[in-house]
Symmetry: C2
Subunit: 441 residues, 2 copies
């Protein structure tokens, strides 16, 4: 093994610049710990003129990352371009095919092409590391690939998107609307100009797809994920959750069931006393339930240039130490096919918020619909809606009243059916809100 | 590399039996993931007749672990005997000297002999893994040795003893005395018959000594740790903390300062909103502050046969994968000497609880002592002590009154001096209680 591990970095955004700074600042420490000096030899980005706050003059410059992957004198190709196809995919494939180790922070790429990239890495006898692709600075990939390798995992779940958690935290803390908090997140750089990828749950789903494969030894299947974002969450939901002893978090959950593996991303009511309820702001958290270890929870920054760079460089250090883990925890040929669980059988408690027409018998109709589906109710909160004193029509008319229902454990199919019937019967003025309640420690 | 990694387990208590069960139950999974089948070939314990709930008939039996280390046909020697000398130490040294990999859960052994054992492992080109020695099932050793290898660590701290955390949690939740909670912990098997090693802070100190070395790249120095246990904590302290927005936890803290590295174990008041305040019962938690990663927190079971076995087997899996990390994160020869920080310069807020004689001018004297040492007070809580209505002498005499003081940031030397003067002047009826306040996120 050479004394120097030659690194090429493709993509020089915030994370790329932090990787350059980290390798420069702590190069000696890394050499001492890993036995090899990791030195950047080449970089790739489109705009050479842009000031990135780091000195890039000593590195070979490639405008085309594929060209860098194919030609640069490097041992490790670091992909920080992003996107599940285009130059990210083609440069990673070129690097692996050439026998370079690859480090990437690209969750979309892994979620879509993880298995075929793992096969390519194996065929070429190189590492494909991606600690930064899931939960930023949190070492969850290593924990699942290595530390918990001997456990039978029953569930992995977490807060995997800092943008959503920031919005939900502020909505709760300050009683602000979703739109106000999103605007603040955008102003502070926690959300993109087009935030849909985060707030609709797709980013969480990509990360969950990777965690599922690592936890259960199945092929990555990001198309089998039930996804619901946080855009429908209102301050009324947040307040009701608070009063009932819950907080609302966007969770990604993967769980082994009798019928297969369930993967779902949706706003979830979690008990205030649970570890996950207490993760605030842009932090991420991942919990893993294993048959021997019990439950462990890892908490930390899920994004940010420096935290993400910490994970990228950890992957480089593993390569410098000649530590080769199977890309997806075991040889790709041994991964089981992913069998999707019948989500309709998912059991748990449910929260429902209905805007009920204020007319005689409305509540009896709701109660009957629930009973017809065998749903038992744990709590019912009906509260006269606040009205502006001088608002027109505020004198005893039939303005809709909010009704909150919490069910005991029941099935999703029963809840959806009941809500459908309630809506069809015209008992409610707006589409009902439904949020799943997760049993957590 | 052979297809089979032959394992010998010395010590067949709760953890040893769990290791046997785990390797038996998940042997195939481990083989798939690591490329080698880890098979137990030999075991060692004194009492062969005892029923341990696992079938040991297929393994060679050694009464003497040293003999097993020297003679058994094994590749990995697993030490689960315990103790910082005697058969644990001699068998580990024999195994390393013979060129066997060693896995141990023995924090006392590592704290006392870690550096010389690391040197011995290096000289023989074998691994010495000890994930289970710190915080049970939590993968903190791997996280520090590998995932955070490229970070400059500024602080590592945590709840490292489940017995103490269980006692403090119950004292707070139920208003019970230390003695009552300790008795319960003993009845439930969370505390030993002789609990002093846990409740006096020594167990936490051993684990902290290991974390310090990994975090700061210094030689292990468990004799330089300031240690204070939880035996002096009363329900009055717990209640006062609660009212002031804090919880009391036994923390191990290692921190880089201008004068060296500070290692301390003591009851600590932590803000209720901090992640560490919310770790209840027998759980452990470890937080690490790194210059790039920021703060990450790992939470999980700190003890228990199965959780500990999970970490022991994770170490075996690393050996099966031929992953060799430097025992203490870097070659032992490169570890810096440990320089103890001047603890007297430690700065932070302090909580003091005084039993003040109820006489004119007492409070003025206290205030003057604090002012003389330059201590600013953030809160002062003086509350007339509750007295039994018919208690003798309850009618306006001079029974001591509890006074709670919270200081702004000051130095330990100032606080100790002030308390000394207050005591000398006879203002207080009992030795003052002093608890450090830790600034945490």
């Amino acid at each position: 093994m050479s004394d120097v591990l030659r690194v090429g970095v493709a993509g020089l955004g915030t994370v790329g610049a932090s990787v350059v700074r980290l390798l420069t600042k702590h190069g000696e420490k890394i050499a001492l710990k890993s036995g090899q000096t990791a030195e950047i030899k080449a970089v790739s980005a489109r705009n050479r003129a842009r000031d990135r706050g780091v000195d890039l003059s000593g590195y070979a410059w490639y405008e085309d990352p594929v060209e860098m992957a194919e030609k640069a004198d490097i041992d490790v190709f670091v992909e920080l371009i992003g996107g599940d196809n285009g130059p990210a995919e083609s440069s990673v494939r070129a690097a692996l095919s050439r026998g370079l180790h690859v480090v990437t922070a690209n969750k979309a790429l892994l979620a879509k092409h993880g298995v075929s990239l793992a096969e390519l890495a194996e065929a070429n006898g190189v590492s494909l590391n991606y600690e930064a692709a899931v939960a930023g600075g949190i070492p969850i990939v290593k924990t699942l690939r290595e530390s918990l390798a001997s456990n039978e995992i029953t569930r992995v779940y977490g807060i995997l998107n800092g943008t959503c958690n920031y919005i939900l935290t502020r909505m709760e803390a300050e009683g602000l609307s979703f739109e106000e908090c999103l605007a603040d997140a955008q102003r502070l750089g926690y959300a993109e100009a087009d935030p849909s990828f985060d707030i609709e749950g797709d980013d969480t789903a990509h990360k969950l797809a990777i965690l599922t494969s690592l936890a259960f030894g199945t092929k990555i299947s990001d198309e089998s994920i039930y996804i619901e974002g946080i855009t429908s969450i209102t301050t009324a939901d947040i307040q009701a959750a608070d009063e009932l002893g819950y907080r609302i978090k966007l969770l990604g959950v993967a769980q082994r069931t009798d019928t297969g593996i369930e993967q779902r991303v949706h706003p979830t009511m979690v008990p205030k006393a649970s570890a996950i309820a207490r993760i605030d702001g842009v932090l991420n958290a991942v919990a893993v339930d294993g048959d021997f270890v019990g439950e462990i929870v890892l908490v930390g920054p899920g994004a940010g240039g420096d935290a993400t760079a910490s994970s990228v460089v950890a992957d480089i250090v593993d390569i410098a130490r000649a530590d080769k883990t199977a890309v997806l925890g075991m040889p790709a040929a041994h991964l089981e096919d992913y069998t999707r669980a019948r989500m309709r059988l998912h059991e748990g408690g449910y929260y429902m918020r209905l805007s009920v027409h204020d007319r005689p018998g409305a509540f009896a109709e709701i109660a009957k619909c629930m009973a017809d589906e065998g749903i038992s109710l744990e709590s019912i909160v009906q509260r006269r809606a606040t009205r502006a004193v001088n608002a027109p029509g505020s004198g005893g008319d039939s303005a809709p009243q909010p009704v909150i229902l919490i069910t005991y454990e029941t099935t999703e199919v029963a809840v959806k059916k009941a809500l459908e019937v309630i809506t069809e019967k015209g008992v409610v003025s707006h589409p009902p809100q439904m949020i799943r309640i997760e049993k957590l420690k």
